[in-house]
Symmetry: C2
Subunit: 478 residues, 2 copies
């Protein structure tokens, strides 16, 4: 458990203080560099030292999460300067708090011994969390240094995929037997001297370590010491297995307002627990990833990452869009003859494509959300599709008519207006159909519908929109 | 506190069972309707009754959050059928759990007395949560029925905007004095008989109710009963004021892994507390809203909402996009003469606009995230802009060259290829500039950069892309 440190409601104040100290120190360095008069040297070195000492003191008073926050917000050179000032025995807990790309920059700056020392400060489940970023040989060293029990825990923790409950699990459990009195439990707790963070329940197990239920910590306080555990144990417990879906576990935590929950193996033996802390981290990480992927980034990006890293993070998406844009361009290319005759088509076609894309994305947002919440069943899927098609039809007629009138007024061509309206309606219907079908199919294929769906529908409504509009124009206007 | 009910790791199983029972019952109803032979009547009514009784029993065994989940996933008619089966004394806790649009459909189906009875089951902070959906006269009735203290709490809770800590606050606090022993505290707790949910700390106050610190519940268990509270009280406490930003409070909960934290007024008096439960709800609600708004929906939408409601939810966004698409269309219209001469421009222009939009959205996603995390300072903003411009320049040259070569090969026109490459580079630079500037300006203006930024940049890179590409073509190719 981390010691109690200074904590701030507004962590930006911390950041501002650090930046100020760093810039003062940089000014001193600049002076030292520019001036060469020896008599000043001593004073400046002292002033320099003073800033650094103050910064060091500040950093070591801060909560590890706040130090992590500051490291994230600093450009690489200053980040490493601050990192050097952090006391070595706090390295582990801070590495745990920073984001993955920032962790990589810090780890790259540490040698093998430092890394082993940092990892050693952590619990086995925490080591597993940062293990993917550690060099192979560091993990081997750490592994050999761990006591047998923790070594087994680390091995287990490393074996779970990141979307399994096993990856959220820690081993900070207090277990008790049910044939004792609260008095005995209390004496036992006082002997241990401290409880793992977020302990709201004690796990009641039998002699084979099979979970029999939980005892709420409250019960220890609210009942007379003579009461037996067996009379107060809660049997109906939300429990997980390590292979359960982490997403589902997080939802159970939210629905039932859990603080901690036991993890058992297939035979019912207690092997770990999940706390609201790792659930919160998981929720934050997954929604973050989702937002980033929707924005076209491959993964989380350190804002001060070298340009080369940023480029690699952004290329996959640009490449995909290049291909879809090229396809759309070829669809237009196929109708160059028609555009040559009625050049107004070139100006109007992006509207049809654009509104189709927007409408399709609205449908997809709805459906992806309902799928994520598990609200879509085979029974109501057709009903939903029907509703989306009806909405698309109404929107198509409505906005299509407006645009049709505008096109008619602009180009004084009634047939062009009619083509505009029909194309809008058809493209919105296509968008609604695809907006329901794409996420549904991806879900059935076991893919995450949140990520690729939006690209696909935009590609479809672009190419489809151009094809429908230019096709109708070629049929009816030429 | 809700009674202990059946809880499921996978709530979809619950939903499936309800749907099965509902469909069985519907089958029976169909038979009753179609057949008119009196001798069957009795049996069918019995079978019908049997299904409904089983469904009712199932529902009343479920956790309120699970019933809420099922109500969300059912079309309106079935939703109301299920709602009628829920025991009246559970209405309040379930109304609290369902989403706002679904809550509206349930409330519309209840009369004044039912609503008052439902609200009365809730704590004052919970009544405040559902108050916006309740008819005015119901709130008045409830208000008059509440004891004075709770009436004041409700009045206070209703007065906070939804993004203030006050809106997350509840009043389930246990307060103690510091000049007593743990023994006294324990006796006091046993007399109360139960603790509010998520009580991990007791609040230590003086006789003026000013907060002096907190006593971790753990300390009660781990220390001898003779110890004095004053020796164990933790003075350095993360505490909030009701007007503090809820977003910042949620971040503090995450950073410091809090379960509950006190809320004090300006003079330091304890007035309430925030728990991880309301923080989780808040995080879920805000990320949900953000995702919905990014998808172009005005607010959360009941998937079974009447078509009219859905239309109203989607029109604002479509209208905005209509305007931006129209502007882009007029930009193209201004160059109709050029397109008439080189029709290839019509086919190539959407690529320039599209890739610009994608690249701009990548930048915006990064910047919005960094702004939300408070990582952008005046000092590093220019650094970030420089980096984004460099990335845009490299990407422009790279992808621009590829497209330029493709354009050259397709149309056998070297100058067209050069225009393509230059237009790509310029549009990506525009995208990078706007991708940094737009969210930054919105942030400075106190608006949420997450929502409108994406629309704005797409509008800009569309119109800008068309203008740059067609403009360069007109200058150099004609």
């Amino acid at each position: 458990m981390p010691e109690v440190t200074e904590r701030a409601v507004n962590v930006q104040e911390h950041l501002q203080q650090v930046v100020t100290l760093l810039s003062k120190q940089r000014m001193v360095e600049d002076i030292v560099h520019r001036q060469t008069m020896p008599r000043h040297d001593l004073v400046e070195t002292l002033v320099h030292k003073q800033h650094m000492v103050e910064l060091e003191r500040k950093l070591n008073e801060m909560h590890p999460a706040d130090v992590a926050y500051i490291l994230e917000a600093l450009p690489l050179a200053q980040r490493l300067q601050v990192w050097d000032l952090v006391r070595a025995e706090r390295d582990g807990e801070i590495l745990l708090e920073v984001s993955e790309p920032v962790r990589e920059t810090l780890i790259a700056h540490m040698d093998r011994d430092e890394l082993v020392a940092a990892a050693e400060q952590l619990d086995s489940d925490e080591i597993a969390d940062i293990a993917p970023d550690l060099p192979r040989e560091v993990i081997t060293d750490v592994f050999n240094l761990l006591p047998v029990e923790e070594r087994e825990q680390l091995r287990a923790a490393l074996s779970y995929p990141k979307d399994a409950v096993g990856a959220l699990m820690d081993f900070g459990m207090v277990t008790i037997r049910e044939d004792v009195t609260l008095e005995v439990v209390l004496r036992y707790l006082r002997r241990i001297g401290e409880l793992p963070r977020h302990t709201d329940t004690l796990f009641v197990v039998d002699r084979m370590n099979a979970l029999r239920g939980v005892l709420m910590l409250n019960q220890l306080l609210l009942n007379e010491p003579e009461a037996e555990v067996s009379a107060l144990v809660q049997r109906d417990v939300v429990k997980f297995e390590p292979d359960d879906d982490a997403h589902q576990a997080a939802e159970a935590f939210e629905r039932y307002n859990l603080i901690s929950a036991p993890v058992v193996d297939a035979s019912g033996k207690l092997i770990g627990r999940v706390t609201v802390e790792s659930v919160l981290d998981y929720i934050r990480a997954t929604t973050d990833t989702e937002l980033l992927k929707m924005g076209g980034l491959r993964e989380e990006e350190d804002i001060f990452a070298p340009v080369w890293n940023s480029l690699r993070n952004r290329w996959p998406w640009l490449a995909i869009n290049m291909v879809t844009a090229f396809v759309a361009s070829r669809v237009i290319g196929a109708f160059e003859g028609s555009i040559e005759k009625i050049v107004a088509l070139a100006a109007l076609m992006p509207i049809v494509a654009g509104i189709g894309g927007n409408s399709g994305n609205q449908t997809i947002t709805m459906i992806v959300r309902a799928l994520a919440l598990g609200q879509i069943t085979a029974a109501n899927a057709t009903k939903l599709l029907g509703k989306e098609l009806l909405i698309a039809f109404i929107n198509g007629l409505l906005w299509g008519t407006i645009l049709g009138v505008v096109a008619f007024l602009l180009y004084n061509n009634f047939a062009l207006g009619m083509v505009m309206m029909s194309a809008m309606t058809l493209n919105l219907l296509l968008a609604a159909l695809a907006g329901v079908a794409i996420p549904f199919i991806m879900y059935k294929l076991g893919r995450d519908p949140a990520v690729g769906s939006s690209v696909m529908i935009t590609a479809l409504t672009d190419s489809g929109g151009f094809f429908i509009f230019l096709g109708l124009a070629t049929l009816f206007l030429l």
